[in-house]
Amino acid sequence: MAKIDQSKIRNFCIVAHIDHGKSTLADRIIEKTGLLTSREMQDQILDNMDLERERGITIKAQTVRTVYKAQDGEEYIFNLIDTPGHVDFNYEVSRALAACDGAILVVDAAQGIEAQTLANVYLALDHDLDVFPVINKIDLPSARPDWVKNEIEDVIGIEAQDAPLISAKNGVGIEDVLEAVVHKIPAPTGNPENPLQALIFDSLYDPYKGVIIFCRIVEGKVSKGTKIKMMATGASEEVVEVGYFGAGQFIPCEELSAGMVGYITASIKNVKGTEVGDTVTDANRPCAEPLPGYKKVQSMVFCGLYPADGAKYPDLRDALEKLQLNDASLFFEPETSIALGFGFRCGFLGLLHLEIIQERLEREYNLDLVTTAPGVVYKVHKTDGTVIELTNPSNLPDPSEIDYMEEPIVTAEIMVTTEFIGSIMELCQERRGRYLGMEYVEETRALLKYELPLNEIIYDFFDALKSRSRGYASFDYDIKGYEQSELVKLDILINREEVDALSFIVHKDSAYERGRRMCEKLKDEIPRHLFEIPIQAAVGGKIIARETVKAMRKDVLAKCYGGDISRKKKLLEKQKEGKKRMRQVGNVEIPQKAFMSVLKLDDGK
């Protein structure tokens, strides 16, 4: 194979707000560069997980190498590195950006700049990427490309007058984008003779090849037989194969050298050893220092996952282990609940990550799950000077042992049209937000800045935001750090027994309201029994709210006609089946649904 000329490589990504057409543009680029025929194209090639396609978002970064014959007659190698589009995966996004030299900014010709556009473009600029804009969806009747161009120049401050006007959906203007990639995105630098320094921006577990490391070679080179070392985790292995990315396939090659993007396999059994952001070097000739920016990924949101059928506990463990092979950011450890039995406390990057894992467990592994209320990690400072990182409310020490508690805070940016500023500010206020400021992006739109406690936004903040702005508000956040806060544990008692799986940590000012809503919700979810069931919410042993499920007086089949016993039995069996799906707490049978229903307390609002 001929040596690849570094000056003919372009490593880039596409940044955009969700739904502005990033994946569609990626598909068109792959199509136009002729790597695949149109017939081979699946819609949205980059998003190859079913779930991603259904939700219309990219979960795991995918990367593809294509060859483009430019108008200057030269062949260029394009490494298009896909980035996840959700705030939960911000760190992955930052690592993928670090693997690029430039970025295409896609802006919707009708909607203009949104919160994620800004967040992503600033992230790209922070990584010193050369960014050029393209204006997509010009086929829409509501498209106003000139207005969007001005907005990009005013708000972001990058040149936009000659931005390609395209319709990725209809394949219009794609050639212009490809030429712009050649001319506006710089070729990589780096010396192949230096010691190996490669950035891991993703990894994937393959049952045959082991872990496949996705990396950008910054300095040096790597080939089969090189003994590599991960600088942060210390894992060390001999390279089995290197190569680059076809669309949906791995194409082996002899060597990856400075400036190239490709993959490495080395019989590594678990992605834990190949963390995103880590630096790969040559064990025998290591580089002086790792690439900057490595962070150990921290779970931000925790919840308990329990199999609906207790006997499926080993299946759940196997499934989590399998998912973890591919997802280093998924954390889990066994826990037990009096109400729910054996399960796992699981940690996620955010709520979307949680939902994705939950859905994959249910869909791919056929498990029926009960999920407890998601919570964040609280720091509990005890009177003896020690600090506990609390992920399960049930483990909160006795109040007498607690000096004070801290909770994680985020800085949030919310882009909203001016007419909804009032209602969004009200929402942030309700969620204990601290107003930082507001900037008018243009006459009719503003960027609100708030500090918000993470535990106030993990459940349903996004939904509330959407509903109070008729879908117009967009939102992005960054973890800021921990702050002291007046937190209490809210307990739920059903028939005077505390149900551990329903306890959660809440700010003391919201405790009454939350408690009341939970009792109301549970009253609707718990079926009537032969006796009356009090449902109480308590803080520190003091009851703050109560509802009652009245006793059932009648459940009898008066008539049983013509000896049709089978029909009667089916009825009884249905009743019995319903019971099996319930959890016994003391004398009370609680449907699994009840545990989940309390997660969404705000729907009635």
Binding site: L530, R553, A558, G563, D564, S566, L572
Partner: protein
């Protein structure tokens, strides 16, 4: 010889009642004729199977069996008498609607061997009858009842319903008292259940409010008291009788005796095998000479199934279930199999037991489904 009960389903009525979810609908005379002929074929075709059985009871149910021409019942009973072994003392019941039973029909039934009539009255108030979609008024019923007595029926049941929309205790007691004055031998008093798909269920908002659960239970309790004062014993959840007049046929269902159902959608259980005839009218007519072709949902009951049924059917009887019977049928003690369940409900005063029997308490009867479902595996 083994005992057998025979149920004959007549899926026709003049008009479907608003609460009815049984397999029944109005039909033309031609259809009724075809059906009758198919019924006879089915009974003939199945006769050989029951060579070793003696028929102890027959029940014409529906629908409205009284809608058929008088001759029809005679012909059907004729098939039974010739092709089956009929006990001369067999209880032969026919369900009738006051609007469709003439004195001539009654005479003909009597002659054919029918010895028990079950009259669907439901309420002694015309406005309630109208609301339920019944095609008769109270006066029609009185006339039918009078006729039945005159023709010589000495075993008569009257069906009543409590818990009707807009009904209060006074109205219900009034219905009970009016009926008691007639001194029937048997009273079935059901509490209305709103079944899915019925007229009432679909248009519930157009009806007066249903009594509350508390009121409904009070009516039920009151029924029991009033009937007891008048010499009726409650022997099953909804059935009351003067001594010696318990419906033999119904008891067979609860005590798991053999019974065969003929006709559209009829259910059978013979020697621990259950099945149900097709509910498709045309298919029933087409295959009546080959009944095994339309016998559906055939289920050979396991010992476990039988034990479950023994409990949840037997406990419908007020006297409860006999521990000795359980042991005799299953070679296991009831304690061994259901000890835990019995103890659980006994602790909540939902059922009681002594050396020989297990029976439901008053409160247990009210919520019997909850308890019964606990006997299922």
């Amino acid at each position: 010889m083994k005992s057998l009960s025979v149920y004959i389903h007549i899926p026709f009525c003049a008009k479907k009642c608003n609460y009815c979810d049984f397999l029944s609908a109005p039909a033309t005379a031609e259809k009724r004729k075809q059906y009758l002929s198919a019924l006879k074929s089915e009974m003939q075709a199945e006769a050989k199977r029951y060579e070793d059985f003696c028929v102890k009871s027959v029940f014409f149910g529906g629908g409205t069996p009284s809608i058929l021409e008088a001759q029809a019942i005679t012909e059907l009973l004729e098939v039974l008498k010739t092709a089956y072994h009929m006990d001369t003392q067999a209880e032969i019941t026919l369900e009738m609607n006051p609007a469709t039973a003439t004195k001539e029909k009654m005479e003909s039934w009597k002659k054919a061997g029918v010895n028990r009539l079950s009259i669907g009255l439901q309420s002694a108030h015309d406005e309630e009858l109208k609301m339920l979609g019944r095609i008769h008024c109270y006066a029609d019923f009185l006339e039918s009842y009078q006729n039945a007595r005159e023709v010589g029926f000495t075993n008569v049941n009257i069906d009543l319903m409590s818990g009707l929309p807009g009904q209060d205790m006074k109205k219900w007691e009034d219905t009970l008292q009016k009926v008691l004055a007639l001194k029937p031998e048997h009273i079935s008093a059901y509490s209305l259940i709103i079944e899915e798909g019925t007229e009432i269920c679909q248009n519930i908002e157009r009806y007066p409010a249903l009594p509350s659960e508390e009121e409904d239970r009070k009516m039920y309790q009151r029924t029991k008291e009033i009937l007891k004062e008048n010499g009726y014993t409650r022997y099953e959840i909804s059935n009351y009788a003067k001594e010696g007049y318990e419906c033999k046929h119904n008891c067979v269902y609860w005590q798991r005796g053999n019974y065969v159902g003929f006709g559209l959608g009829a259910a059978s259980m013979v020697e621990n095998v259950r099945w149900t005839n097709t509910c498709d009218f045309d298919s029933y007519l087409a295959k009546c000479k080959q009944p095994s072709d339309f016998q559906k949902e055939k289920q050979v009951l396991t010992q476990r199934d039988c034990m479950e049924e023994f409990m949840f059917l037997g406990l419908r009887m007020i006297q409860g279930v006999k521990k000795a019977d359980f042991e005799r049928f299953f070679s296991k003690t009831m304690e061994e199999v259901y000890g835990k369940v019995l103890a659980k409900w006994e602790a909540q005063h939902m059922l009681y037991q002594d050396e020989s029997h297990v029976w439901l308490s008053e409160q247990g009867i009210d919520v019997s489904n909850v308890i019964f479902s606990d006997f299922l595996a």
